[in-house]
Symmetry: D2
Subunit: 386 residues, 4 copies
């Protein structure tokens, strides 16, 4: 547990960071929702604020006046325990509350939290605050990837910022790291923060495998495209093949074939494909098909965790072969926070690592990210195992 | 044909009026599209501008520089002849161009039109300009009803303006006007402006009928609701009954049952139902069912037109029993403007009259409005015939 | 009104005719429903029987024992007044009652009706019986067109019969019949049987027009196809153009492009297109687009009725430009039979004439057939007006 | 490998068994497909036959004459390598080939296989034959559960047979079997037949757990229903909760609340719920929610396999917590048979054990059955772990 003063600094820094991410936006960019998975930026700003109000201020601050009684309806995401809420796909239909009103809400709640924590020392509250901060950090990544989707799907392809770098320049050579057969400890085990889905450290038996030190690159992926990877069903799951055909997928998200050569939309605008950069914005279906084409496979999340100290990671969320399931002895938290993770443990795949959009201090070797297999607006990528 | 100077004044007044309607909006309100039928206000602002650019400036102004080459893709509505365009239901997914940019576009085109017409006298151009002005007026009504939908479907139910009056106070007593059997002239017949679908004045034989001097009121409609009108299939078309059940319709659009009493959303905010005001925001299905329940029927558009000089109209668009079909000798205009009316002449019902949202000079006794039978976000109402 | 003995003969003949149409089927052909509009043949056999049981025997035959209490649920088509029923699109999911059981049901009810009418003389009953016979005749045409759909959409393209002739050989030359401007009487006016939607003879004013003495032929339609009729939006309604593109329509129903030449499925199996035969299995959208391409138009149902004595008709149902609407003074019958016609008077187009599938005595100059504009599994065709 | 003579007997017995299952059907029952997951019985009869023709006779029998060239299109299930095929959901739209023709096809192919194997000894062919027999056995279970669905969803609720027993009478008392922490061998390891997905025996580390010796019963499940299990979101996955609400699920498949008491449809017809019988026709979502309500969980497939020798199994397929994923070193078979299992390894859950519908010799401790989590027309059930 972080001491209160440090925690408050961490809180303030995190609140500020959300606003920094939003700073380059026009007001109009805060409002739209071009697909159901994406939320309007102002919704993220409001929802991360509502979380502190709902779970801390309303219950633990004496005489707290709710900023606006209707906001719980507007900014609840999926907490059935808390009451009714706007249907997810309707978030982009709400022009009000205005962006300015949402910023006022943020300030109001930020100040109220600061007041509360400057006058109270309480371990339970600190623990809730810590969850709230991590919750907001999780939304910071979604906020950025949602912004990319909002701008990158606009026919005008506007830039987010001139300087945003989606990957480093260095290219390192690929090596195969050998991991021995044996029993490995998996899961979180220290005093530091983690989500409930990482808890219950336990043993997993792994058979010997080799894992690549580097992520698959655009150059390698282009070869898959050029040799007909999207047209040969043999590389695909049945569901993946249907997904490819229904959606007429021929390349990763944000790739455009312009005058015969591939470009992609980045937060700096349209750019030529960089062959040495790690490929990104793939669905699990595509990651799997690429591995099949290579005659290799994706790692399980356990293989990834057991090997992760031998390679660098954090540029792309790495699809694993593992389904998102509870660890042995997993227990849901009580109350509304128990809805944070457990109820999603079906029909999703685990991603490990982190990405250039992941905020500082918001990933770790045991972190379990998860998405349905067709999703690709996150900075996803893959690493091979043989 | 209006003389050029008058026409230019008409143009300027009309351009200004669109902006006046939009003035009370927050920037966020310009962006959203809560259902496919509704367009974001900034789209209306851009589209009515694009119409002048596409059909007049690009073709008739020497050395005209298009404001932005991508705007044709963004602001074309349905003109197949003109090229590709944003899918209608995606209009609300576009945060850019920004509202400010759209206003710049408006000013740019408004000035260019003024320049052109100050230096040219050309009957063809004047005719195009006149169509463009009427086109913009048509969008002014949509703009206002779309704004009502955007605000009225927001759970916060924000007001548009404190002073907007959706109906006059006076209640007049209902009288039955008798119209004799005989041959009547239907359709537009003067030199003044009209759309192509009103042309081809022709004779229609009408049998004797009686038509009400007043519109059906909220009070009368409440009685229909209270006696189970929405629960008895016998009053409904088969398609209407399915529409009621699929959408769980129990009252006109914008009506809310709050603590046992009916209120409705108006542009001034939530209000108690006024029993003497004409009922509005009904689908054709509901108008038909109400008439069945009364043991009466809706007028045909011909009956309406033959009788209209005997009553006052213009508060509500009045559903008629007539399907939207071409008049004898109807001819589509050549080129893209031929897509204005003719291609919609199937699966729609005719509405006659006008509404409190209809801009000045934008309706007349021969005007044929049309919508699919399930639509109700316009200021629709009904008048009975027996 | 037909005298009872003749009526009973008419009844027996009609019951027999339904079974004759079904005679060439395999048991399996009685069961399937390859699209929602089509009903399984055994459903037609049962439903036409249920109609007599429900509206005559149950109410008017003393001590009548219902054949099977569950059959009302299975064989009711759309009579809300009569109670719950199998959802239309689920009819093809029911393997039971078996075909044999349905024939037993038919015999049981046929005998009961004969018993009843041999011992009773009652004008109301006779009138109900007459409606029941005409109802069955209406289903005979659907039965045959549904059989064509069931067999014609099977990849094995099985024949119905070796001898069935879908059109006569004679080709007659096209002439343009001139009809003068004036007032015409429209609607049914004799003592003989008609449906309620034909009643209320009334006057209609028609402007002068010329109507073709012949139906449009396959040869003419092929020219429309070959000159790109399905690829040029200008000929189509907006809804029609969307229908063409969504369903990738390139020719009338049952046409197959085999090795570069067009063939079509007939009840005798696959055949080369006969250029002089009247084109058939068109939607209204296609009929309209063809007429646009020709620079002509479809007749209204009034124009058709006023001119029909001057040409021969009955090979194809002829799409008209008219929407299906009530005649002046139309009154729905009381009770369940009131659901027969009135509730469908929206979103449908009128077809006039008859087709080679129409049973004997089941059409007349005032008969108003109706279908939604996208439907084409009936023997539809068109006649031009200019 | 089974010696040829025994294998041929096994083949003949298996072919006969499919026909025995179908014997009580009416011809009509062979044809329908009341939901996409279900196939018409005649399709199963044809498809299992086509499998032998396609993979053995066409390739390995000299001068083999295909029974009907169109049958490959009609009876291919999902083998992309083999060519085009009828869309799965259209199988129930095909009245032809007739049931009699399908039986002729079966006899033709059965004889051809017997001829081939009486005159040849070839290990590769024997191996293909063995796969074909197991493939048919797999379809025998689907055939029976599809028949149950076809009859059980018919409003007439016809019986399949008077004598079919869906569960034994004996009730055994529940005991908790303790399994120790440690390394366990998982997967198939003998010479006997198994599918490719069971191969690659490997080690799995299991933590200590207790597993019930008995399946959950109807009585226990009724308590879950009666205490509001279907109305409290806290027991459900987010996807499960949406499934419950969208489909308005309130009990297992085939349960009917009649006059306040629960009955269920069995192959012998409607029966009162037997409290001691193992509950069946649950989705994974329901099995999971029940376990949550009990404060317990489902076993993983590894826990099940490690413990299975300590309890009896085979009445119900048991949902496990495991997602269907490849074992380490899993390799797809080459060619079309490689499509048998591997391409389904996403979005599915593993079921272990077997059911009263599983044919003789067609399950084993390592057998991995799999279905999507919402499926419940199989004889599914559950066993708890704590």
């Amino acid at each position: 547990m972080i001491l209160t003063q440090t925690l408050l600094d961490f809180f303030k820094e995190s609140r500020k960071h959300t606003e920094n991410i939003s700073a380059p936006l026009e007001i109009e960019d805060y409002v739209v929702q071009p697909m159901a998975d994406v939320s309007p930026p102002k919704w993220h700003l409001g929802h991360t604020t509502w979380f502190f109000e709902e779970f801390i201020l309303k219950k633990h601050k004496r005489d707290y006046q709710v900023f606006d009684v209707d906001f719980s309806f507007v900014f609840n995401s999926y907490y059935e325990s808390v009451g009714k809420r706007v249907v997810r796909s309707d978030r982009g239909n709400l022009s009000r509350p205005s962006v300015q009103k949402v910023y006022e809400y943020r300030n109001y709640v930020t100040m109220a939290i600061q007041n509360l924590f400057e006058s109270t020392v309480d371990h339970e509250l600190e623990s809730l605050l810590e969850i709230g901060i991590h919750h907001e950090k999780q939304h910071q990544e979604l906020l950025l990837t949602d912004i990319k989707y909002i701008l990158g799907n606009n026919p005008l392809l506007p830039k987010y910022a001139n300087t945003y770098k989606e990957h480093p320049n260095e290219s390192t050579s690929c090596e195969w790291i050998e991991i021995e057969e044996g029993i490995y400890d998996i899961g979180h085990n220290s005093e530091s923060f983690c989500y409930d889905n990482e808890l219950g450290q336990h043993k997993v038996y792994l058979h010997a495998y080799q894992i690549s030190s580097t992520l698959v690159t655009n150059g390698e992926y282009l070869e898959f495209i050029n040799t007909g990877g999207y047209r040969h069903f043999g590389y695909w799951h049945a569901d993946g093949w249907e997904w490819v055909n229904t959606n007429q997928i021929i390349a990763p998200q944000y790739w455009h074939l312009i005058d015969g050569s591939w470009q992609y939309y980045t937060l700096k605008g349209l750019r030529h494909i960089e062959p040495n950069a790690p490929v990104t914005h793939l669905s699990y279906y595509e990651a799997f098909a690429f591995a099949q084409w290579k005659g290799m496979r994706l790692p399980t999340e356990f293989e990834w965790e057991a090997a992760q100290e031998h390679f660098s990671w954090g540029q792309r969320w790495e699809w694993t072969e593992s389904a998102y399931l509870p660890y042995p002895n997993y227990t849901k938290a009580a109350g509304a926070l128990g809805e944070y993770n457990g109820k999603f443990m079906v029909n999703q795949k685990v991603l490990r690592g982190g990405s250039i959009a992941t905020p500082n201090k918001h990933t770790r070797p045991t972190y379990r990210n998860f998405f349905p297999p067709s999703v690709r607006w996150q900075y996803t990528g893959l690493r091979l195992v043989k």
